[in-house]
C-alpha cells in the first residue's frame, strides 16, 4: 500500500466526539500515523505478518494502520469504553479484524514478550505526571521486537498538530513537537 493511500484511509476514520481532558485524548493525525507505521514496516519489518499491540489505542488509528500494512494480529487497548466503541466501528468499516481490550494499561495481565511490536501515542504526562513512562515500561515488557512511541520533546522533524479540542488552547491549532522513538527491549 502506498503511503498516500494509507494516509488517506486513516484520515477517513472517525475520531473522539468528546475528548476527555483527564485522559489526554487527542487523535493521532493521519500524517504522523502513516509515517510511523510505514517506517516501522519498511525500515524494520516490524508490522507485516507480526502480532502488534496499540497501547492507549483511542479511536484505533495506529492499530488500524498496522492492520492495513499487513499485521497478522492486532490488539488495541484503552481505558475508555467510548473510544473503544469508535475504534471498533472504524475497524469494521474497513473490514479489519482487530481485538480490543478495555482496561487500564498498568493493570493488564499480559504474558511477557507475547507480541512482536508495540505502537503507541501515549498520554504525554501533562495531566497525570509520568503516564508516558508508565506506558513505556509496560510496552518494553510486552514486546519481543520493538516499541514505537511518540513522546513530547523540543523541536524535531516530526511535528504533531493538535487542533483546538480543549477549551484552554488559545490558538486555533497548536503544534506540539514530538519525537518518534524506537525502543528495543
Amino acid at each position: 500500500m502506498k503511503l498516500k493511500q494509507l494516509e488517506g484511509l486513516l484520515g477517513s476514520l472517525q475520531q473522539f466526539s468528546n475528548p476527555k481532558v483527564e485522559l489526554e485524548q487527542y487523535p493521532t493525525g493521519p500524517h504522523i500515523a502513516s509515517r510511523l507505521l510505514y517506517m516501522a514496516e519498511n525500515t524494520f519489518g516490524g508490522i507485516s505478518g507480526k502480532v502488534v499491540a496499540d497501547f492507549g489505542c483511542g479511536c484505533g488509528t495506529l492499530g488500524i494502520a498496522s492492520a492495513l500494512l499487513g499485521a497478522e494480529h492486532v490488539i488495541g487497548i484503552d481505558v475508555d469504553s467510548q473510544s473503544l466503541e469508535i475504534a471498533s466501528k472504524n475497524a469494521a468499516d474497513l473490514e479489519l479484524d482487530i481485538d480490543f481490550i478495555w482496561c487500564d494499561i498498568k493493570n493488564l495481565g499480559w504474558r511477557d514478550q507475547s507480541v512482536n511490536t508495540v505502537v503507541m501515542n501515549p498520554p504525554f504526562g501533562t495531566r497525570k505526571k509520568g503516564s508516558d513512562m508508565e506506558f513505556l515500561s509496560i510496552a518494553l515488557k510486552v514486546a519481543s521486537g520493538a516499541v514505537y512511541s511518540l513522546h513530547k520533546t523540543t523541536t524535531r522533524d516530526l511535528r504533531f498538530d493538535v487542533p483546538q479540542l480543549y477549551k484552554f488552547h488559545k490558538k486555533k491549532e497548536v503544534d506540539i513537537a514530538v519525537d518518534l522513538w524506537r525502543f528495543v527491549p
Partner: protein, 122 residues
C-alpha cells in the same frame, strides 16, 4: 476476541499468584475465515501455551486440536489448518473470562473483554 488474544491474557488482581489461563465462557461466537500464513504459525507456535489454547477452543465447541503439541507437528498441513482455525478464525463475541484463582468474571461484550479492575483489586 480471538483465542490468540486469550492466550496472552492473565488475571492481574492483587494477590493472585496464578491467573493464567483465564477460563473462557463463550455464549456467542463467530467464525471468520482468514488466509493461512504458515510462516506466522511456525513462528508463533513456541509462544503459545498449548493447553490454554486447546481448552479455550473446546469451550467454543472446537475439539479438533490435540491435547498436546510439539514443533514436529508443524510439518503437517492438517495440523497447521486446525492450529490456524483455532488461533485466528474463532471470535468470541459474548461471554466471559474467569480468573482461575478467584473466580472473578471479566465479561466479554461485542468481542471486547472488560478487564478493568476494581479499586480493591489493584
Amino acid at each position: 476476541m480471538r483465542l490468540l488474544t486469550h492466550n496472552m491474557l492473565s488475571c492481574n488482581i492483587k494477590g493472585v499468584s496464578n491467573g493464567f489461563p483465564l477460563r473462557l465462557e463463550a455464549e456467542k461466537w463467530v467464525e471468520k475465515e482468514v488466509e493461512l500464513n504458515a510462516d506466522f504459525l511456525r513462528g508463533i507456535f513456541p509462544k503459545i501455551e498449548w493447553k490454554a489454547l486447546a481448552g479455550a477452543a473446546r469451550a467454543i465447541g472446537y475439539d479438533q486440536l490435540p491435547d498436546e503439541a510439539d514443533a514436529s507437528m508443524l510439518d503437517s498441513d492438517d495440523f497447521l489448518r486446525r492450529f490456524h482455525h483455532a488461533l485466528l478464525e474463532l471470535h468470541v463475541e459474548e461471554g466471559a473470562l474467569v480468573c482461575p484463582e478467584t473466580g472473578r468474571r471479566f465479561p466479554i461484550n461485542k468481542g471486547i473483554p472488560n478487564m478493568l479492575l476494581h479499586e480493591d483489586e489493584v
